[in-house]
């Protein structure tokens, strides 16, 4: 059979186009679902709860803004992946879960740490690589952790921690302790095999775990539609798994939906696959020229700033007034500045610490 010669020009592989919104057209997997219409009181949240949510979110924001400045001044090195724009997710989720429910995430982890008991001091000291850091200066920005409070840490191999989340859930089911695990991953981790293997086992074994994608539109410089086909959330269908898409720019929405889901997981010991749509305000790390997106797109999402949104909610609902907001902001600012002083004044780890935390025993015969 004679075949038609294909013109070389016609053959192409990866979809083209950098921005997720080209010519104002909204591409799949990025459209934000509507936020909840419920007020905090409908969600059983007190006034104090919402004020605290704002404070938590503002702390994450200021912590990172200041960390960024310190990084630019050369105070510490390594990677610095900023969570700015996504704070509603960490905060809403943490509120929705019980204190002994488990959280694990990827390397964009500062917000998660701060909202799950890593103090600003310990967090900043970790960025500086000081022995007073939450991970003793061993991990840096990518590896915040507070295992005592069930925050299992941030992990730097894309997709690598997803099975760990499944394993934490496995242990919880095994011990019948009624804890729920929330395993967060980036949209960029969706194409990793580890996710699909884990989802299959989780559904088959009834693991009490929420696999939640923080879809911020990009994996490094690759827009989500260029790395993943279809709607991300539909991955759940192949596993017969419960699923939901959530607006991640509104903390009350994240809280409402994640609470529903966590309740269901706890009751039925069945996993969920959740896609939380959000936006990353800063570059991937600190050396990203951001040519893959337009200024207009960024500005459009800045109008949806989750921190400003909850602040406005507090004011609009007359929960607190401008003066009180200012007072909170000032006190957060003080906290962050104290954290910087603390980090700067803290010591680097002792030389011997190089060999600490390698093995359970402290007399392991290291190879030379």
């Amino acid at each position: 059979m004679a075949k038609k010669e294909k013109n070389a020009e016609e053959v192409t592989f990866t979809p083209k186009g950098t921005g997720i919104r080209t010519n104002g057209e909204i591409v799949r997997s990025t459209e934000l679902p509507d936020p909840t219409e419920k007020k905090h009181s409908d969600l059983d949240l007190s006034d104090d709860d919402v004020v605290d949510m704002f404070e938590q979110m503002y702390l994450q924001r200021r912590f990172e803004e200041r960390a960024m400045q310190m990084y630019q001044k050369g105070k510490f090195g390594g990677f610095l992946h900023l969570y700015m724009g996504q704070e509603a997710i960490s905060t809403g989720t943490t509120y929705a879960l019980n204190d002994d429910d488990d959280i694990i995430t990827a390397y964009r982890d500062h917000g998660w740490g701060l909202v799950r008991g890593v103090s600003p001091k310990e967090g900043m000291a970790e960025l500086y690589g000081k022995e007073t850091g939450c991970s003793k200066g061993k991990g840096g920005s990518m590896h915040f952790a507070n295992v005592d409070e069930h925050f299992w840490g941030g992990y730097g191999i894309v997709g690598g921690h997803i099975p760990l989340g499944g394993g934490i859930a496995f242990a919880n089911k095994y011990k019948q302790n009624n804890r729920v695990t929330a395993c967060f991953l980036g949209d960029g981790a969706v194409p990793q095999g580890a996710l699909h293997e884990t989802l299959n086992m989780s559904q088959n074994w009834g693991l009490p775990c929420i696999y939640a994608v923080e879809n911020n539109g990009y994996a490094m410089g690759t827009a989500v539609h260029r790395h993943s086909v279809g709607e991300i959330v539909d991955r759940a269908d192949g596993f017969n798994m419960k699923k939901m898409v959530i607006n991640g720019m509104d903390v009350l929405t994240v809280y409402e939906k994640m609470k529903e889901i966590a309740d269901d997981v706890r009751e039925n010991s069945e996993p969920w696959f959740v896609e939380i749509r959000t936006y990353r305000y800063r570059g991937h790390s600190m050396s990203d020229p951001m040519k893959y997106r337009t200024k207009e797109e960024l500005e459009e999402y800045e109008k949806l700033d989750p921190v400003a949104r909850i602040k406005n909610y507090l004011l609009d609902e007359d929960i607190i007034d401008e003066d009180k907001v200012e007072e909170i902001e000032d006190s957060v600012e003080d906290t962050v500045m104290e954290a910087i002083d603390f980090a700067e004044e803290s010591d680097f780890p002792e030389k011997e610490a190089l060999y600490d935390h390698m093995f359970a025993e402290d007399d392991y015969p290291f190879h030379t």
């Binding site: 690589g129 022995e131 191999i157």
Partner: protein, 327 residues
């Protein structure tokens, strides 16, 4: 000759080979529209189009294997890993498939593929982003492994790797991409795989060092020269097949050897070279071979610990002092 950055030398090798052979294509994370995470492939999308410059999702196992399959079926892929630390996810395709398919099909398939990207550490990136993988892959029969230290070697050896009909792992370093060097410009400039090079002549001690560690060895040699210690540096360039003859030849002259390696001590290149030296040059040695490697620990984040962890010129000097019984 042209003065090129390391990244430009690699790009030139890829570009020259792609322009001569339609079956060569590049695949990896951020290689096309982003121009490469470290700008190695900058401009190649414009030149070769999206058929031959292919952005992949973060699916190392999948795209490495797609590369192997495409190579079996007549193409010549260059698969870029953002770093070899992430190629661990693709190890099944490299170790179980690329290295073995020719053998287990009795020679029916050919796998002309290059896996390339930065190897080892690049500053304070913590434990999962700092491992040196050349010796690990060299352990497996059926793979060639290259880890070069200078732009000219990189260009010449990468061109050979692309032309080679076997799977070749070609390793680089984030920290060397900006390094400049004189690079031959002729289209047919290649360096044979498996040939070491004596890069500094000396008579007192042989220092074997490749990749980033070559530069650590050079710094040490310069300091030692001020103390009238005359260091010869041999850069293996290719880890496998290893050119032990050139190393042994040097030792016959100097009678002393220090191996510097950016890997952990157990079972690394330093271990292998040390064994081969005692087998091939035992009678020529005036001192036991010493090695400078990473310690047997993961990479720490903290600056002071990281500096302690990474082999330094001072450690090389100490080792040279030991084999020369100076101190």
């Amino acid at each position: 000759m042209a003065e090129l950055q390391f990244r430009e030398a690699i790009r030139a090798a890829i570009d020259e080979e792609m322009s001569q052979d339609e079956d060569i294509f590049v695949m990896g994370e951020e290689v096309a529209e982003y121009d490469g995470a470290y700008k190695v492939t900058e401009g190649l999308l414009d030149k070769y189009g999206s058929k031959r410059m292919i952005d992949t999702p973060i699916s190392e196992l999948g795209f490495a294997g797609i590369g192997v399959g495409a190579a079996m079926n007549g193409l010549r892929p260059i698969v870029e890993f953002m770093t070899f630390n992430f190629a661990v996810l693709a190890a099944d395709q490299i170790i179980n498939h690329a290295s073995k398919a020719r053998y287990m099909t009795g020679g029916q398939v050919e796998i002309p593929i290059v896996f390339r990207g930065p190897n080892a550490s690049a500053g304070q990136l913590s434990a999962t982003h700092s491992v040196s993988y050349d010796a690990m892959y060299a352990h497996f029969p059926g793979l060639k492994v290259i880890y070069t230290s200078e732009p000219a070697d990189a260009k010449g050896l990468l061109k050979s790797a692309i032309r080679d009909d076997n799977p070749v792992l070609f390793m680089e370093s984030e920290q060397m991409y900006g390094l400049k060097g004189e690079v031959p410009e002729e289209d047919d400039f290649t360096i044979p795989i498996g040939k070491a090079k004596v890069k500094r002549e000396g008579s007192d001690v042989t220092v074997v060092a490749h990749g980033k560690m070559y530069h650590v060895a050079t710094q040490a040699a310069e300091k030692l020269a001020k103390e009238d210690v005359d260091v010869e540096i041999v850069d293996p360039r290719t880890v496998k097949p290893l050119d032990i003859e050139t190393i042994v030849k040097s030792i016959r002259k100097t009678n002393r050897c220090v191996v510097v390696d950016e890997a952990h001590p157990f079972g690394g290149l330093a271990a292998e070279v040390g064994y081969l030296i005692q087998r091939e040059a035992f009678d020529y040695l005036d001192a036991p071979v010493q090695r400078v490697t990473l310690p047997d620990t993961n990479a720490p984040f903290a600056k002071n610990l990281f500096d302690e962890w990474l082999p330094s010129p001072e450690q090389v000097i100490d080792a040279v002092n030991t084999v020369t019984y100076r101190k």
